[in-house]
């Protein structure tokens, strides 16, 4: 039996080592060859070597990179690297000339005339002109294109028209306030008409724009490679430099699992990792070999919408009491270790037309909250810590989704003023269903959105319908009129006046419980310079300014 044992052991060990050998032959010599960060950074030191950058984006890859068709932010970002847009937006959120040198809008706000740059060519040599612009708008509007987002963004277009070679005109049936914002996002990229027609359904593999980068290779669900456009010479004036981009080749990977993305960055497989969760920020902050970049999103922050039709929230004093009881700073500390933006306003502080005074409307004040509840007739008569009125306890549903840990904190804060909040953690589809049916007291909502028109979506009672976003069920003709007008006011100053009034009403009526806004994070090696978010980090990431240190 001894011989048997020995031979069996030898055989097994042999098998195991064979297995190990097989797996070891796949080991690359040293750091993996090709596109790893370590290698990409090294040759940059020797002049004349191509500068290569490897980027990991934490999130799902867009199904199509063409943002005229695909509805997701990540598609808009990739499209904005490959193609230019008619209008640009600088860091101060001013609209600036880009492919359009100038534009004017008719007195009634419906007819837009764009004067185009005359020195632009697409990657395939096709000249950029009014014909090309018209082609792109017509493509977006064509139902066959199945544009999921762009078509809705450009508004009620009735006609597109080539006035002369470099003048393009577009007419809306009614003024469309969001138009300039839409044109400045990667969702309305200008593609080469020749390429769209030539490749047809295969265009996704051959995206040809006029942008600073050209598509070299697109392997769906794996990676996308971009190379520098050597002829690029029409960057908007607010960019850090002019001429071609300073990076020769970019490899982009979308990785949905944040731990994997961060591990790959730490292993040197990428120079930059974009949009990783706040939980990982602390370890990067303390790492001397990593540079952290952050940006602020725009839109409607993380909040709980209050259903004003459900007692006791039909009483404005109860709603105001809840607002005073919420301690946003504490939530951000406990939940995100401080790596988020506490806000009492109904919009992200970085949003265009943001009303800053909203931050002071409801200071964290338990006494004020208690007084408001007493005034509303809610008292704790039986000493159980929960207030009652007419024998009914002050009980609310807290319908939470997506951020699991949020419920217990808000619940504990409301308990302080004698409110019994009952958490219901639901998946996304159920959240939508509950919101649509009004079966909630308070419900989670977060709408990071580039344009302040998000207020019209969320608080105009015309959106009180299935699929609509007016979850608070508040109906006020005055607010509706303001929002209706804001959606049709093309003048930015006037539009912001209106939207400020709207924020004031939403705040005064205590329709929502604002909590915090998310931050945008990217980590990179110290060699990477000039990389960062644009004015709206969800759709703007400026790769053009990026360079690798010598």
């Amino acid at each position: 039996m001894n011989i048997l044992k020995r031979t069996a052991t030898i055989a097994t060990l042999l098998g195991l080592s064979l297995l190990l050998l097989v797996s070891c032959t796949a080991v690359p010599a040293g750091p993996a060859t090709g596109e790893t960060g370590a290698e990409a950074a090294a040759p940059a030191e020797a002049s004349g070597e191509p500068k290569e950058l490897s980027i990991i984006y934490v999130g799902n890859e867009p199904k199509l990179l063409d943002a005229q068709v695909d509805p997701f932010d990540s598609a808009a970002i990739v499209s904005s690297w490959l193609a230019d847009t008619l209008v640009g937006m600088d860091m101060d959120k001013n609209f600036q000339p880009y492919l359009a040198e100038s534009w004017e809008v008719s007195e009634d706000g419906t007819v837009w005339t764009f004067t185009l740059r005359q020195d632009v060519t697409f990657h395939d040599g096709t000249p950029f002109n009014a014909e090309a612009v018209k082609f792109n708008f017509d493509r977006i509007l064509d139902p066959a294109t199945q544009s999921a987002q762009s078509a809705a963004m450009i508004g009620p277009v009735v006609s597109t028209e080539v006035v002369d070679e470099f003048t393009f005109r577009l007419t809306h049936s009614a003024p469309w306030a969001r138009f300039l914002d839409a044109l400045s996002e990667g969702f309305i990229p200008m593609w080469s008409p020749t390429a769209v027609q030539e490749y047809g359904a295969d265009f996704q593999q051959h995206l040809i724009g006029s942008g600073p980068f050209m598509l070299e290779e697109y392997v769906p669900a794996d990676h996308t490679t971009l190379v520098k456009n050597p002829d690029y010479n029409w960057a908007p004036a607010y960019m850090a430099h002019q001429g071609p981009a300073q990076i020769d080749r970019v490899t982009l990977r979308f990785i949905s699992e944040a731990s994997t993305a961060v591990a790959a960055f730490q292993a040197g497989e990428a120079d930059i990792v974009i949009r990783f969760p706040p939980a990982r920020v602390a370890e990067f902050r303390s790492d001397a070999n990593t540079v952290l970049q952050e940006g602020e999103f725009t839109g409607s922050p993380v909040l709980f919408v209050m259903n004003i039709e459900q007692p006791p929230l039909d009483d404005i004093n109860v709603r105001k009491a809840l607002r005073h009881a919420i301690n946003q700073e504490e939530i951000v500390q406990v939940l995100w270790a401080g790596e988020a933006i506490p806000t009492k306003g109904v919009m992200y502080p970085a949003s265009l037309c943001y009303w800053a005074e909203g931050e002071n409307a409801y200071p964290f004040d338990l006494e004020a909250a208690n007084a408001l509840l007493e005034e509303a007739g809610w008292v704790d008569s039986d000493g159980d810590g929960i207030r009652e009125k007419d024998g009914q306890p002050l009980r609310l549903t807290l319908v939470n989704a997506f951020v699991d840990a949020l419920g217990p904190i808000v619940q504990a804060q409301l308990k302080e003023i004698g409110v019994d909040a009952q958490i219901e953690l639901v998946p996304g589809p159920v959240q939508l269903e509950r919101a649509a049916s009004g079966d909630f007291h308070t419900i989670f909502q977060h709408m990071a959105f580039s344009d302040p028109g998000v207020l019209d979506m969320l608080y105009n009672s015309k959106n009180l319908k299935p699929g609509g976003w007016s979850w608070t069920r508040y109906q006020n003709p005055e607010l509706d009129a303001i929002l209706d007008e804001s959606a049709m006011t093309v003048d930015v100053t006037r539009r912001c006046e209106l939207l400020t009034q709207a924020q004031q009403i939403v705040s005064d009526e205590a329709l929502v419980l604002p909590l915090y806004g998310n931050k945008w994070f990217a980590a990179m090696t110290p060699a990477v310079q000039g990389f960062g978010p644009g004015p709206r980090p969800n759709v703007d990431i400026w790769l053009y300014n990026t360079s690798l240190a010598e």
Binding site: I3, L4, K5, T7, A8, T9, A11, T12, G15, L16, L19, S23, A26, V27, P28, A32, T33, G34, E35, T36, S54, I56, N60, K63, L64, D70, P71, F72, P143, Q146, A148, Q149, A152, P220, A221, D222, R253, F254, I255, S256, E257, S259, T260, A261, A263, A264, Q266, A267, G268, E269, G428, P429, L432, E433, A436, F449, M457, K465, P466, G467
Partner: protein, 307 residues
């Protein structure tokens, strides 16, 4: 034998029908209007967009008409069009299939080699430290969640040691860590089975007879021992195909591989119903057919098995 194969094939029909009903119901069991779910929550939508999609998904027809159409089309290989890819679902699935096949085949080889190796080692050295070591190792494999093993391997071999690329490198290099993860998890069950099965075989009279005939230890172990040990192992290997396919869902997500498992996750996450239905149906059919093949192999390996 052919009668057996035919009877097994016949039992496939109700199984596949049940699967198709289940897969079809996914879209309708979720609360709310499917078209609204696809569009809302991700970006601004208009009621017109929702109506167009309802039309496109055929949601305005009675439910039995919808199922009839779904089944009829599926039988002809038409799984509908993906909402987000805007291409036939079957095309997208076939694009992702090679990656999952590579992963599962290599993982299966690793599982078999590791499992049979460790199991044999443990049985032959029954009661020794080698036995304990193998069994502890397999206990770890059985009890640790597969995505956790994956993350551990990433941290050890990817970040600390830097031996294998995590997301970059050549396709072969990229295969090592995910295949090891998946293979290791599956090997544990196989190792335990091989051990107990071999222990039993080693006690059989025919083993003693084999020794008495003067055969070498090698011959006794491999010709008489392993042959009898491996019969139940074949069944387990077959069942592991199911485990591999579901493991692929997690592994492909953790390692960001462009396979079927990740496709299914994304389809569900993005509420792309035709794509989710297609991927799940396809995977289920693969599993059922694979189990059928294993049953047939099993029957031919062991002439005693007849149903």
């Amino acid at each position: 034998m052919s009668a057996y194969i035919w009877s097994r094939l016949a039992t496939l029909v109700p199984v596949l029908l049940l699967i198709s009903i289940f897969v079809f119901s996914i879209m309708h069991l979720l609360p709310g209007d499917p078209a609204m779910l696809v569009l809302a929550g991700e970006y601004a939508t208009t009621p017109e967009q929702i109506e167009t999609l309802r039309e496109q998904l055929g949601l305005n027809d009675p439910i039995y008409t919808q199922y009839g159409r779904f089944l009829g089309n599926a039988l002809q290989g038409d799984l509908g069009n993906s909402v987000h890819f805007k291409r036939p679902v079957s095309e997208v699935i076939l694009e992702r299939l090679p990656s999952t096949l590579q992963l599962t085949v290599v993982a299966m080889l690793i599982a078999a080699a590791l499992g049979i190796g460790l199991g044999t080692l443990a049985a032959v050295h029954h009661g020794s430290w080698l036995d304990n070591f193998s069994m502890v190792l397999s206990l770890v494999g059985v009890s640790m969640p597969i995505f956790f093993i994956g993350l551990l391997l990433i941290l050890i071999f990817g970040v600390r040691l830097g031996w294998f690329p995590i997301v970059g490198g050549t396709p072969l290099e990229r295969l090592v860590l995910p295949a090891l993860t998946l293979g290791f998890a599956s090997s544990s069950v196989i190792a335990r089975l091989v051990r107990s099965s071999l222990l039993e075989v080693l006690r059989q009279d025919y083993m003693v007879t084999a020794y008495a005939k003067g055969l070498t230890s090698w011959l006794v172990l491999f010709r008489h021992g392993m042959r009898n040990t491996l019969i139940p192992v074949v069944t387990i290997l077959g069942l592991q195909i199911g485990g591999m396919l579901s493991g692929a869902v997690l592994i492909e997500t953790v390692f960001s591989r462009p396979g079927l498992g990740r496709l299914a996750v994304e389809a569900i996450l993005w509420k792309d119903f035709p794509l989710a239905q297609g991927t799940i149906l396809f995977t289920a059919v693969v599993y059922v057919v694979a189990s059928l093949i294993v049953d047939i192999v099993y029957a031919s390996l062991d002439p005693r098995i007849r149903y």
